[in-house]
Structures are given as structure tokens and as C-alpha cells.
């Protein structure tokens, strides 16, 4: 692609560069909105656009006030002197911090639940002798396909009858269910290329079932398990519909708080939060990419 063959005509050359240009525009469409959020969040004015000062790179046009606002919003005494007590106030009262704590608690618990159950099930599902494989797989993947609004409606009815509404376990279980399809898909994908003669060899050499799992199977499927867990975590971390339907204020998460922010008091604080989340997703993306390469190396597929 880098060099066009000698037989290409002028028309084809023009088309080729037009094509590259179009691709460039589409890539721009994909990332520009996300990257644009970052400079906008440093705006000194309460606008969602670049001010004259920002465009002329005047330092006065930029500020960290919206990042500061993440901490102070909801505090009892935001204007007090910034000492230890101020930070304690932030930790216990600031709404975004409250939401972040909830997101982390719910996200981690849901991820652990989804990953443990999902990995064990994927081990069973990838065995050739598994009965009703296709039907069970279809059921387990369906939380990803069924619209969230339907799942949330069902959970609302079920939880309000069983008393799980407005509780942490209720939301953690719901989020784990939403993350499970991702764990199943990534772990079964790593198991597809899994060489079963390795486990048989280990058993033959006298290893117990649990040793085989710990020392042979697990290290090989670990990249799949971790990327499944990351997917599950992101699903929970990004989920708002279920939280909207079955959570109370106590279980408010970051996306829920953003939802409020966009609907009610829209301010560039949202952009500051968004910037932090974008950095977070870049971190996740890098991790997943590294894991994928490691997995390919382990399974002997050349990364090229």
C-alpha cells in the first residue's frame, strides 16, 4: 500500500489519495470529539467552547477551576483553609468523590463476581462434550444483546419485590450479569487455541487436577481472563441505566452523576471529569493491547 504499483493509471492514483483522505476524515471523526474534550476542560470561562483567550494561547484563558470544582462540589465548607480538615471534608462530602467511591466498590465487586463465575463456566463451555452448548451460550451472552432498558425494567420489578432495590448487592449482581458475556467471550476465545495435550501431559506426569489448573491452564488463559475482567469492569464503570432504575442516592456512581450533570446543571466540570475518564480509558486500552500481544506470543501466533 505504501508504494503504488507501476501500472496504476492517473485516475487510480487520484482515487487512491482521495481514499486515504476519506479514511483520514473518518479517523478524525472517531477521535476528534474525544480529544477535544481535554483542552476544553481547562477553560477559564463557564463555556463549552474555545474562548478568544484560549485560541491565542493566553495563559489567562486557561485554568484548573473545573478540576477544583470536582473536589469542592457538594462539600460542607468549600471555602475553608485547605488543610487536613478540608481534605477530610472532600473525602466524606464531595459528590464526585462519593460517586467515584461507589463506582470503584461496585465495579470491583461486580468484576470479581463476573470473572470468577465466567471463567469457570467458560472452561466448561469450551469442552467438546458440553451438553446444550449452543443454547446455554446464547442465554449467557444475551445480557449483552438485550437492551439495557429491558434488563433494568425487569430488575426494577424483581428487586422491589425481593428488597434488593437500593442496595449494593443488588447493583453489584446486576452489573456482574452485564459483564459476564464479555468474560465468556474473551476466555472461550483464548481456549479455542488451547492445546489440550498440555493438560494431558501434565496429568500423565502425575500432577493433580488442581495443580494442572494452577500451573498449566491458568497461566495460558490468564491474558483472556484479565482482558475479560477489564471489559467487565468497564461495563460496570460505564453503566447508568440500571443504576438509574434500581439505585438510590447512596449508590450514585460516576456515570449517574454525569447524567445528572448533563441534564441539570451543565457546567465544564463534566468536561473535567470526562478528561479524567479519557485518560483512564487510554490506560485501559494500553493494558488490553499489551495483554493481547502477550497472549499471541504465548499461543505461538506471531504478532508480525
Amino acid at each position: 500500500m505504501a508504494k503504488l504499483p507501476a501500472y496504476t493509471s492517473t485516475g487510480e492514483r487520484i482515487w487512491h489519495y482521495t481514499y486515504l483522505f476519506i479514511c483520514g476524515l473518518i479517523f478524525l471523526f472517531l477521535v476528534a470529539p474525544i480529544l477535544l474534550v481535554i483542552p476544553l476542560s481547562f477553560n477559564a470561562e463557564p463555556y463549552f467552547t474555545f474562548t478568544q483567550k484560549m485560541l491565542s494561547f493566553d495563559p489567562a484563558g486557561y485554568s484548573l477551576r473545573w478540576y477544583d470544582n470536582i473536589l469542592t462540589f457538594g462539600m460542607k465548607n468549600p471555602d475553608a483553609e485547605r488543610n487536613v480538615y478540608w481534605w477530610i471534608d472532600v473525602f466524606f462530602n464531595a459528590q464526585w468523590i462519593h460517586a467515584a467511591k461507589n463506582s470503584i466498590i461496585i465495579g470491583f465487586s461486580a468484576t470479581i463476581l463476573a470473572t470468577v463465575l465466567g471463567t469457570i463456566a467458560a472452561l466448561g463451555l469450551s469442552r467438546p462434550e458440553m451438553p446444550f452448548r449452543r443454547a446455554i451460550m446464547a442465554l449467557l451472552i444475551s445480557p449483552m444483546i438485550v437492551p439495557l432498558i429491558i434488563t433494568a425494567t425487569g430488575l426494577f420489578f424483581f428487586y422491589s419485590r425481593t428488597g434488593l432495590a437500593h442496595t449494593y448487592p443488588g447493583i453489584i449482581m446486576a452489573h456482574a450479569t452485564l459483564g459476564i458475556p464479555f468474560v465468556i467471550i474473551t476466555v472461550t476465545a483464548t481456549l479455542v487455541g488451547f492445546d489440550h495435550s498440555l493438560t494431558r501431559a501434565a496429568l500423565n506426569l502425575g500432577a493433580s487436577q488442581s495443580t494442572v489448573f494452577r500451573r498449566v491452564t491458568m497461566p495460558l488463559i490468564l491474558p483472556g481472563v484479565i482482558s475479560g475482567a477489564l471489559f467487565a469492569f468497564v461495563t460496570s464503570f460505564d453503566e447508568v441505566v440500571v443504576v438509574l432504575f434500581v439505585a438510590a442516592f447512596d449508590q450514585q456512581t460516576i456515570p449517574r452523576q454525569m447524567w445528572n450533570g448533563i441534564r441539570e446543571q451543565i457546567s465544564p466540570t463534566i468536561l473535567a471529569v470526562a478528561t479524567i475518564l479519557v485518560c483512564f480509558s487510554i490506560l485501559l486500552l494500553t493494558t488490553v493491547e499489551l495483554l493481547r500481544r502477550r497472549s499471541e506470543r504465548l499461543r505461538g501466533i506471531s504478532p508480525g
Binding site: 482515487w15 474525544i34 437492551p147 434488563t151 425494567t153 424483581f158 474473551t186
Partner: protein, 433 residues
């Protein structure tokens, strides 16, 4: 001698076969091999199943049961039947053809009094109000005054409110006295029961649901096709570039994929609102005047743009994974046989990408049909989808049975598409990242 040798050979050859017929081959412990094999297979099946069992139970509790409960709600509502026992008994014995006589009104008076004491009158009134708009206050105020009522009840109740003398209300109450009813499905498809219990269309002005379902499907299809048009060149580029370039460019696709939905929606709001970056840019460069700023958010365009951006990676990834497997030699062979670049693309390359197109379009379509967050935030009033109406009935109008009926119809559409996806592509082949 030679004959005996042949005989011996004969017996030797035949004997093992005879043995095989008489005595089945056995495993080491003496059980027939067939039985042992069947037992081993069964054991292996169980072992596989036991691994899946915990998750299966978990998903059953947190997913399957809630969905079933929602489906139940869509046709089962006992708000009236559980709280108005006298009327239920009366309706069992009498078919309502005109406004009932004293016996019916006496039952009504008794039930209203009881419902007020039990504080269930609100639930009852709400249930009837779904089908006779405006009747809520009629019930609550009658219940409030029911203590002072004296027989004959018919005159007394009608004196409270002339609307009690309406046969349509009594028809609705009779239907509501049966907890199982299709009236929510009828309402969800813009129909209702008339005075004779026949299904009729509601007034033209009030028909919103079917139109919204059709709109949702069309909009989703439109978004899926736009995604296809945008994804095709990008996926092709990624698939044909050398890996070290394509891996870098892949970041452009994966970054949005990993970024929070709300962050992306916020970004589009910042970009496209009338005082946003895009409009400022156009005004700043003098393309449009300050007064003619484009309204790109809070309408259908907003929904389409933001949803296309959010769903585009789901189209690029399956297309890319299919294009990756197409050998470049085919197109080159076609060219060397004299095909123009267009013919080579259209007749040789394109048909091989069809599985990827099918997978991508179907996936994006399925995801788009059930979208809620983005249309709710950037859709304004024209860019709403069916999910937004379900949320409206759940959170605002509190007509939960209606929300359940709409949800059930949406679920049916999704399941048909899911089944199609499984048939055509197979869920095992779904890949991520």
C-alpha cells in the same frame, strides 16, 4: 497336510470374529466397552455441566427471572381485582351491557369504602385511569365521600359525579376485574377496547407507539448503514496496511471503543450545540452568520451523529476481522486478467466481505434499537427512540404495565434479530478488541 494347514488357518481366522460376536470387547475391569464408554461420556458431560452450573443459576436469578417478571407484568395487573372484591363478584355474575342497577352500585360503594380504609383507592383509581383518562379524581373523591352515602346507592353515586353513569367506565371496570388482560398490549399498539369490547384504533392524533416503533427501526437501520459506509474504507485500510501501521491506526478505533458512553455523548454536546465548537468554527471562518447557527443537537440529527460515532467501532471490528482473511492475491489476479480496478473490487473483493458486512450491520442494528442514554441526552423531542418511552412510563407516568408491554414488544424484536445473528454468524464467532 496342506489341507489341515488351511483348516487351521481357517479356524484361526474365523475364531476371533466368532468371539467378537459372542462376547463383546470389555474394558480392563470387565464391563463391556460400550457401557464403559457411555459411562465415561456421561461423566465428562456432567463434569462440563457442573462447571457451567453456578453461572447458569446466577444468570437465571439476576437476568432470566427479572425478564420473566417484566413479561408477566405486561399482561397481569391485579390492582383492581385484588382491591375491589365486591365488584369482582358482581361482574362474575352479571355481564355489563348498560349501566348496572342498584346491586352493582351497592358493590361499588362497599368497595370504595373498603379501599379508602385500606388506602388502596389510589392504586385502583390509577389502574382504571390508564384506560379512562381523567377518572382518577372521580374515584378518589367518591371514596372520600363514601361514608356519608345512603342507599339507594345508584342515585347517590351518580349525584356525586355524572360520569358514573357512563357504560364505558363500567366496561373498563369489568375488564379490569380480571387481572389477566391484553389491554396493555393493545395500548402499546395504539388500540383500545370500545363499548362493545371490540378492538379499535385510537384517535389518529393519539397514535404514537406504532409510529415510534417504526421510527426506531428506521433510524437504527439508517445508523447501521451510515456506520457501514464509514467503516468500510477504514476497515479496508486497516486490513491492507502492514501490521505495524495498522496496529497504530487501530488505536483510533479502539480509543472510542474504550471510552465511556457518557464522555462521548458529552463531547458531542460540547462540539455540536449551537454555542459549541463546531458552530463557532463555522461562524469564525465566516461560512455562516452568527444568527444562522445550525441546530445540530437536541433533535434527530443529534441522535444520529452521536449514535453513529458510538456504534462505529462495532462495525469496523467485524469488518476488519473478515477483510484480514481475504488474500490480496485474488484482486491482483483479477487485475492481471484484465479487470479494471472497479471490476476487481466489485466482483472479486466485495463479495468476500459480505459475511463481515452482515455481522457488523446486524450487530449495530441490534445495539441501536435498544439505545436509551444517548437519545435521552441529545435527542430532544424528535430524536427519541422506543426505549425513551419505556423509561418515561417507568419513571414519570408510572404506568409500569404499559412499560412492560412496550418492553415485551421490543424484546421480541431483539430476540428475532438475535436469532438471525446466531443463524447467520454464530454467537461463538463474536470477537472483541
Amino acid at each position: 497336510m496342506s489341507e489341515t494347514a488351511a483348516q487351521v488357518a481357517d479356524t484361526l481366522a474365523v475364531k476371533p470374529i466368532d468371539q467378537a460376536v459372542d462376547q463383546p470387547i470389555t474394558a480392563a475391569d470387565g464391563t463391556p466397552l460400550k457401557v464403559a464408554l457411555a459411562r465415561a461420556t456421561r461423566k465428562a458431560k456432567w463434569r462440563a455441566f457442573v462447571l457451567v452450573l453456578p453461572l447458569l443459576l446466577f444468570v437465571l436469578i439476576t437476568f432470566a427471572i427479572p425478564i420473566v417478571e417484566m413479561l408477566t407484568r405486561s399482561f397481569y395487573n391485579d390492582a383492581f381485582s385484588a382491591n375491589m372484591p365486591n365488584l369482582v363478584a358482581y361482574f362474575e355474575d352479571n355481564e355489563i351491557e348498560s349501566v348496572p342497577d342498584e346491586a352493582g352500585f351497592a358493590a361499588l360503594a362497599a368497595d370504595l369504602k373498603q379501599a379508602r380504609e385500606n388506602k388502596t383507592i389510589g392504586v385502583v383509581a390509577t389502574r382504571v385511569n390508564y384506560e379512562v383518562p381523567g377518572s382518577r379524581s372521580q374515584f378518589t373523591s367518591a371514596a372520600r365521600k363514601t361514608k356519608k352515602l345512603e342507599p339507594p346507592f345508584k342515585e347517590a353515586i351518580i349525584a356525586l359525579d355524572e360520569d358514573w353513569n357512563d357504560v364505558r367506565l363500567w366496561n373498563v371496570m369489568q375488564r379490569a376485574s380480571n387481572p389477566i388482560s391484553a389491554s396493555f398490549y393493545l395500548a402499546a399498539t395504539d388500540r383500545r377496547y370500545d363499548e362493545n369490547g371490540d378492538k379499535v384504533w385510537v384517535d389518529k392524533k393519539r397514535r404514537i407507539y406504532i409510529k415510534l416503533f417504526v421510527n426506531t427501526l428506521l433510524l437504527s437501520l439508517g445508523i447501521a448503514l451510515i456506520c457501514l459506509v464509514l467503516a468500510f474504507p477504514v476497515a479496508h485500510l486497516l486490513a491492507t496496511l502492514p501490521l505495524r501501521y495498522s496496529n497504530l491506526l487501530m488505536i483510533f478505533v479502539l480509543l472510542p471503543f474504550w471510552t465511556s458512553l457518557l464522555v462521548r455523548t458529552t463531547a458531542w454536546i460540547a462540539l455540536l450545540q449551537s454555542q459549541g465548537v463546531f458552530n463557532d468554527m463555522l461562524v469564525g471562518t465566516g461560512i455562516i452568520g452568527d444568527e444562522s447557527r445550525m441546530q445540530l443537537m437536541y433533535n434527530m440529527q443529534g441522535t444520529v451523529i452521536a449514535m453513529t460515532h458510538i456504534l462505529l467501532p462495532f462495525m469496523i471490528l467485524p469488518l476488519y476481522s473478515v477483510m484480514k482473511t481475504i488474500p490480496p492475491t485474488y484482486v491482483r489476479a483479477a487485475r492481471s486478467l484484465g479487470a479494471t480496478s472497479w471490476t476487481a473490487f466489485w466482483k472479486v473483493y466485495f463479495p468476500q466481505t459480505v459475511p463481515g458486512i452482515g455481522a457488523g450491520v446486524l450487530l449495530v442494528f441490534i445495539l441501536a434499537v435498544g439505545y436509551y442514554i444517548t437519545p435521552a441526552l441529545v435527542g430532544g423531542s424528535t430524536g427519541q427512540l422506543i426505549s425513551n418511552l419505556i423509561a418515561f412510563h417507568m419513571l414519570k407516568s408510572l404506568n409500569w404495565s404499559m412499560a412492560a408491554a412496550l418492553g415485551a414488544i421490543l424484546l421480541f424484536i431483539i430476540l428475532v434479530l438475535y436469532w438471525l445473528y446466531d443463524k447467520l454468524i454464530g454467537i461463538d464467532n463474536m470477537k472483541l478488541g
